[in-house]
Symmetry: C2
């Protein structure tokens, strides 16, 4: 928990790149080897491995060598942390708007008051 | 929509910094002036203004000058985009696990088969 902020820093940083977001999207549909991950991209395997290292360093992806193949899979906790962080801020913001609406609804209607005079 | 990926790049990049996440958190509780936003941080007003510019450039925050005060408020759409992006990937991943569970449940139980021999 001490490193929660630092960890969110790295997860958000990792997801700021479109290639890495595509890799996460691919892995959300199931595990893949590095060459399967690389296939849709017009870049070297070395570049993909660099992106993979960033995703592993922040905990979004885990990989393991099985024989001659490196198998990669998504670790959903880091994704959930991002979803929760954004969701909590959005809900706080919406709750504030709701309270503002309640407050305004409780106020006497100035036009009605005007009519009654 | 053409710039949706580029926009997500910038939103994730903006949220990769703990000061900027704290500013978003503060603004989720209601609008604030730049000096109110700066108050909790041990940094210059100029540094806060720089962070504010990053948050505005990606659409997370909007500010407007009212008299001598710059009033800042949260724009929840960018936050929702982050929440949805992460949520969709998580749900795809969970759905895949559910289908795997169903598949395994449909398979004949090897131990039962063994017992029946």
């Amino acid at each position: 928990m001490l490193n929660e902020a630092a960890s969110l820093d790295r997860v958000f940083q990792a997801l700021a790149d479109p290639t890495r977001r595509s890799m996460v999207e691919r892995l959300s549909r199931g595990p893949a080897s590095v060459s399967e991950l690389a296939r849709p991209f017009a870049m070297s395997l070395a570049a993909i491995v660099q992106h993979l290292k960033v995703l592993e360093a922040c905990g979004l992806v885990r990989s393991e060598k099985i024989g001659r193949v490196r198998a990669c899979r998504l670790e959903p906790q880091a994704l959930t942390a991002v979803e929760q962080w954004a969701g909590e801020r959005r809900r706080t913001w919406e709750h504030r708007l709701d309270r503002l609406g309640d407050y305004l609804a409780e106020q006497p209607d100035e036009w009605d008051t005007e009519d009654e005079k």
